[in-house]
Structure formats: structure tokens, C-alpha cells
């Protein structure tokens, strides 16, 4: 009987964990859209677990709290009139480790970004991508641990992503070019492959499969195998 109750509790806890992970992902999107990267970093990113990493698109991998903050917070675009960014979280595949200490999830993210321009009105873009994220439990709450954003495309509203992959808009920064205030990355990009006419889509991020403990699985900010 006690074992049955333990099993019930374990499965109930797993469902609660999945729900919290979904909520965490949603919170990321709403805070990021509101330009609250600092608040988000303080409250949603792991601080105690070793190995915090953040890999946003083509900038490289940022390791450790200070460096991640130096990218995600210090390098965030200033909140100015006309700026708007939103990234939706859809199509989740979420696995909680059997030991309940870590989790993995992937999402497809349709989105849009509008950037003020120095000469003329802001320019609207469609911006689609994917997330591959490892989570860790700290103090009873789930936190982002290895956070990887994969670019699918970023294209001006009036240009298809096929066209913009061939004729890159001149105002786009160069691949890997750091934003003002951004700390340099700790190591190079592990994987990021935006759409291009002469490349095939790769299976990254790979949806997670059930696993027992984190040392049996991969990190989303390691080189994909």
C-alpha cells in the first residue's frame, strides 16, 4: 500500500512538473516580450546548479551566470518606442527525468520582431525558431539550465524567407556580431542553421526521450551528435 502511494505521488509530481515547465516557458515569452530580461534572468534561470549555459542563435555559448547575464540582460536591445518582439511557444515535447531532478523540452516558436531604424520607420519581421532546453530543479522550483534558441528564419514582412536567405537585408547584423553591451561568448556556436535554399533541415533540437538521470542524456548546449 505504501509503495502504491509512493508510485501515485511520483506520477502526480511528474504531472505537476510538466505543468510547471510549460508555465516556465510561457513566463519566459511574456517577460521577454515585455523587455523584462533582467527580471526574467533573476527569477527563472538557475543560479545554484553548475553549468548554466545560454546559446541564442548565432552568437555562441555563454557559460555561467555572469556571462549569461552579460548576454541576455546587458546585451538586450533597449526598450524604445517602436520596438516589439514576441515569440510563441508551441508543439511541446517534454520529458521529466525519472529522478525528478532535471527535465528536457523542445518547442517550435512562431514569432515576430519589429526593430526601430535610424532612418525611417521601424521594420516588421517574421521570426521563427525552435527551443531546446534543459531544466533543473532548484529550491523546489524549475529553472532554465541549458537554454538554446535555434533560428529558423528572420525575414522582413514584405520578403519571403527564401528571398531574404539569398538577399540578406543590408541592415541585418553580420552572423555572430555582438549587440551593444553584450559580453563575448564563452565558446563557439554548437549548432544554428537558419533556412537557406541550399541546405537541408537538420534534426536539431532533437525531441527528448524518456530518461532516468541527466548523465544518461545530452545537453542542448553541447555539440549535437
Amino acid at each position: 500500500m505504501a509503495q502504491d502511494q509512493d508510485d501515485f505521488d511520483r506520477r502526480l509530481r511528474r504531472l505537476e512538473d510538466i505543468h510547471e515547465i510549460n508555465n516556465l516557458m510561457g513566463m519566459h515569452e511574456y517577460l521577454h516580450a515585455a523587455g523584462r530580461n533582467g527580471e526574467e534572468f533573476e527569477k527563472l534561470f538557475a543560479k545554484d546548479a553548475p553549468g548554466l549555459t545560454f546559446e541564442p542563435e548565432d552568437w555562441g555559448v555563454f557559460e555561467g551566470a555572469e556571462t549569461v547575464k552579460g548576454c541576455y540582460v546587458d546585451g538586450a536591445p533597449p526598450e524604445v518606442p517602436g520596438l516589439m518582439t514576441e515569440h510563441a511557444a508551441t508543439t511541446p515535447v517534454i520529458e521529466i527525468a525519472e529522478d525528478g531532478l532535471t527535465a528536457k523540452g523542445v518547442w517550435i516558436s512562431p514569432g515576430h520582431e519589429t526593430f526601430p531604424m535610424p532612418d525611417g520607420p521601424p521594420i516588421a519581421h517574421w521570426s521563427w525558431g525552435r527551443y531546446g532546453i534543459d531544466f533543473v530543479k532548484e529550491g523546489g522550483a524549475w529553472k532554465f539550465w541549458h537554454f538554446h534558441i535555434y533560428t529558423t528564419f528572420r525575414t522582413p514582412y514584405h520578403q519571403s524567407w527564401v528571398e531574404s536567405s539569398i538577399d540578406r537585408p543590408p541592415y541585418f547584423p553580420e552572423p555572430g556580431q555582438l549587440m551593444e553591451g553584450m559580453t563575448p561568448p564563452s565558446r563557439p556556436v554548437t549548432f544554428n542553421q537558419p533556412y537557406h535554399v541550399d541546405t537541408a533541415q537538420q534534426p536539431a533540437p532533437a525531441p527528448p526521450v524518456p530518461y532516468r538521470t541527466f548523465d544518461e542524456t545530452w545537453s542542448y548546449t553541447d555539440q549535437p551528435t
Binding site: L24, K43, G82, L83, A88, A141
Partner: protein
Amino acid sequence: MTTSTETPTTLTRVQRLHRIKAVHEIHNLIGRHAFFNAAGHYDDLIGAFARHTPGVTVELADWGVYKGLDGARAALVGPLLEMARRNGEGMRAAYPELDVRDDRAGMLLESAFTTPVIQVAEDGGSARGVWMVMAAQTGFNPDAGRPEAGWAWVHYAVDFVHEEDGAWRILRLRVVPRFRTAYGSSWVESSLREQAPPPLTTTSDRPPTAPLNDYSVTRVPTYDPIPPEPYRTLDDLPPL
């Protein structure tokens, strides 16, 4: 702020199961809302609102706050019927050869609900959720003289109650637009043009709770609606 439901250790297994079941019932309820809206199931749309709990409100954009089930119908169904009426009128005038009988010919209103953050009250009697909604909208544009497609991204903030008959229903619903644009224009371009008047045929019961915050080149996006935090009971919820 916390990310987690931080399930209070005082809750029993049955209470915890009720709360986690509630999350999925709310997903289903919102999914039905989206499909009822698209298919024109107006009675079912309103049927998903609370029947035994006072305080039903609906607020769309800056159209004001509508109260009660009658207000929900006025706010949600009224504009849909008005949009259909305008659509039918325009289609019959522009395409007499099509013999349009149903006002909704050529209308398409599809809303994809994404990015949920849902908190179920500790007492299991209510919940609040927010969603990002991507929408594809199509209807007759009299200025263009033809059906016109458009995109809209909005945020939904919804309060739910677990009613005495065991069903979860919508208590309060608020829609906050992020942008609306005709297909041929970016939302930046649309924001610089005068917008068509809303398809309203009624007056709200209260003024809007916040000014319109559609995309504008002169505005910084606000943190609105605010995703819910864990809470104990319905009365603890801040305004939507």
C-alpha cells in the same frame, strides 16, 4: 515571483489531482472557445461562461467592459454578427454572380492559442490563464471592394471558475491586441493609417480598463496582461 505552482504541502492527493486535472480541462475549454468562435457556434461560445457565479465580464481591446452573460454575448457575438452582416452586404454587392445567401461567405476567423501560463488556485475553485494568440482573419473590406485577409496577434487573459455542477467555465475574459494588419501591409504600416471603426453595435457597461496598446511606432510594449502567479482563492486575484 515564482515559476512554479509550488504545490502547498498541505494539499491532499485528491486536491492536487483536482488541480492538475483542471489545467487540462482549461486547455480543452480554451480550445473549444477558439473553435466555437471560428465556426460561428455563438450559443456554445456563451455557454462556456459561468452560469452560477456572479461577475462575468468580457473586455476586447478598448471596447470597454461588458458585464454578465448578456454582456458577454454583446461583446463576443455582437461584433461577429455585425462583421458577418457587413461581409454579406459587401459580397452581394461586389459579386452578384456568386448568389451569396449566407452573410459569412468568404469569412475566415482562425485563432491559434499558444504559450499558456495557467495557475489554478490553491483551493481548486478558480484559475487564471494567459495565452498568445496568432490569428488569421478574412472578411469583406468595403474600401478594397473585395475580401481581404489579415493577421492579428493578441493576448488573452482569462479567469475560470469551477462551478457547482463540476464544470470549469469562463468568468472573466480580456483580449489585449498586440497588432492587427491587413495582409498586404506590415503592422508598422497599418499602425500609421487610420483604423476602421470596430464592429460594435452596443455600448459597454464600463470604460476600458487600460488604453489601447496595439503596436505603435511611438509606444513601448507594456507588460499587459500579466501572467498569473500562484494564489490561494478567487478573491486574491488582481484585476485581469
